[in-house]
């Protein structure tokens, strides 16, 4: 029996009168790689950002690691989580952004150690050792002292992945990690992600990389207009889509 890492039941999100998520249901199991596909504006990034509470949900039930996101439950009432609780929940979830968002005033090494030291209270020495290990794993063991501006986009994104991994997360969120990269740099980042998936990391990936989804994903979810149109293994959703909307999207991007 594999544990459910993310569970969404009727998750809704609106900004004023605009509803961007109209009832999302899905389950992500431990060790699974789930790819969210869909046109821009379909709500996939918003859903991803709800999972670590960068956005708060407007309705429905969203749990991560069995815990409600943004709320604690007691005797039939929902209490808004305290800052400490939200931060603790977030620290178990790694996130990789489209525009990397590395801290430009810190070296690569400092980018990786600032989280473990300030959030987890780890010793600096142990954090450095772990950071060096992670950077070697993503192929950047020689860039410890470099500043993010001195790296290419692909290198920056690999540092960003290593920064998230330095927190030893149980779940990794990727928000279009290769969309801002030159085509020839995409491969290096995808290779790191494949390596991570092979290692058994639970991953939720918003992406337009069909090849990656087909090869690595256990579950592919196609979203449009704030709803899940269809989901299943890539052999089904990508190779033999049932819905017309999915077919139209895939024929446009493939």
């Amino acid at each position: 029996m594999t544990a459910t890492i993310v569970s969404a039941r009727g998750v809704r999100k609106s900004y004023g009168a605009v509803e961007v998520l109209k009832g999302i249901d899905l389950d992500l199991l431990e060790g699974q790689v789930m790819c969210l596909l869909g046109p821009s504006g379909s709500g996939k990034s918003t859903f991803l950002r709800c999972i670590n509470h960068l956005e708060s949900v407007s309705g429905g039930t969203l749990t991560v690691h069995g815990q409600l996101v943004g709320y604690r439950h007691r005797r039939g009432k929902l209490y808004e989580s305290s800052e400490a609780e939200i931060c603790r929940d977030r620290s178990d979830i790694g996130m990789v952004f489209q525009h990397f968002n590395l801290f430009p005033h810190m070296t690569v090494l400092e980018n990786l150690t600032v989280g473990p030291v300030t959030v987890r209270g780890r010793a600096r020495k142990a954090s450095v050792a772990r950071a060096v290990q992670l950077l070697e794993r993503v192929g950047l063991g020689d860039k410890l002292k470099a500043y993010p501006k001195q790296l290419s986009g692909g290198q920056q994104q690999r540092v960003a992945i290593a920064r998230a991994l330095a927190m030893e997360p149980r779940l990794m969120l990727f928000d279009e990690p290769t969309s801002a990269l030159d085509p020839e740099l995409v491969g290096d980042v995808l290779a790191v992600m494949k390596d991570l998936a092979a290692d058994g990391m639970t991953m939720l990936v918003v992406t337009h990389e069909m090849g990656f989804a087909r090869e690595v994903a256990d579950v592919v979810v196609f979203m449009d207009g704030g709803t899940v149109v269809e989901s299943g293994p890539p052999s089904q959703v990508i190779e033999a889509p049932v819905h017309d909307r999915t077919r139209a999207f895939l024929s446009a991007v493939l």
Partner: protein, 327 residues
């Protein structure tokens, strides 16, 4: 028609002056473009500077001997120290208070935002001279100062205004509160200049807001905050001379006291001017190093030395783009 053709083929005005483009420009000497307007400007400026220098040397009313005599005199130096104290203490308070006010103005709470906004409105909206006089005569408004809960609550302690607010404290309060209103706006602009993605990346690592501000946002905001803060510090040094009106013996007041006695007004004002220039020069150099520190990670390649930068600023008219080389 004919006239037009004549003009175009006349020597020196059209294509007729030049040979056709060569097949190969390798090894040819490059003749720089002439700038006659620039040379006229230089000549005019040199004449004016020459007149000024001549005045310095030949006009006996500058009384350079008196300037030399008083430049390092005890009264002047203690005035200088007092000016530096005022600047340093007032600026430190203003920066700390400015950060607090900026965070209040960016707060979710309308009360905190409103109070900070009103503070900035009040202290930025009235002249510093008026504020200084107000603080100096504050004991006329509040003979005693007591701390407690307004209208209802108990009073915690009571102090005599004249003893807790001597002239020096009045000067510090006036300068610091006035300056903090400006610092609040500078810090706020700096924080707003930090990319939203930086907040999100720090949040997704699980950082609390206080850590996020201290470790991620403020260090980056510093790059925007430092240059105007340097200007404000230099401004504060000069504004501190206003304090002379409430009789605090800072640099200007010290020389005023001397020339009131000796009538050597101009040389004493020159003494003050020299010291103000010395300190602003030192502050400018200090600002350069602080900017370099907070510019970490933003530069491309090595940075120029101070001397290099000063020289480059002073002599930019020598830098002339050459063919085949980056300007």
């Amino acid at each position: 028609m004919v006239a037009t053709i004549d003009q175009r083929s006349s020597p020196g005005a059209g294509p007729g002056r030049w040979d056709p483009a060569p097949a190969d420009t390798e090894g040819m000497r490059v003749v720089p473009r002439r700038h006659p307007g620039r040379w006229i400007g230089i000549a005019v400026v040199l004449v004016l500077v020459g007149m000024l220098v001549e005045g310095f040397i030949t006009n006996p009313r500058y009384q350079w001997d008196v300037v030399g005599e008083y430049l390092f005199s005890g009264a002047v130096l203690s005035g200088l120290v007092r000016t530096l104290e005022l600047t340093a203490i007032a600026m430190t308070i203003a920066i700390v208070l400015g950060i607090v006010l900026a965070l209040m103005r960016l707060s979710q709470s309308i009360v905190l935002r409103g109070v900070a906004g009103a503070f900035v409105w009040l202290f930025r909206g009235t002249p510093l001279l008026v504020q200084l006089l107000f603080w100096n005569f504050i004991s006329a408004l509040f003979p005693v100062i007591s701390i407690g809960i307004p209208f209802i609550g108990p009073t915690f302690f009571t102090l005599d205004a004249n003893t807790v607010i001597p002239t020096f404290v009045a000067a510090i309060l006036g300068l610091a509160l006035y300056e903090s209103a400006y610092m609040a706006e500078i810090v706020r602009a700096g924080i707003l200049s930090v990319d939203r993605g930086q907040f999100e990346a720090a949040q997704s690592l699980g950082m609390r807001r206080s850590v996020l501000m201290r470790k991620i946002v403020l260090p980056q905001a510093m790059r925007m905050i430092i240059p105007p803060t340097g200007n404000e510090t230099i401004g504060m040094l000069k504004f501190s001379s206003l304090v002379s009106v409430i009789g605090l013996p800072e640099l200007l007041n010290s020389v005023q006291l001397i020339y009131a006695r000796t009538f050597e007004t101009i040389p004493m004002l020159i003494v003050a001017t020299i010291w103000y220039l010395v300190v602003t020069t030192v502050l400018t150099i200090g600002q350069f190093f602080i900017e370099r520190h907070f510019g970490r990670g933003s530069g491309q390649g090595p940075r120029p030395s101070v001397v290099g930068r000063l020289l480059r600023t002073a002599f930019t008219f020598h830098a002339r783009p050459r063919q085949g080389r980056p300007a």
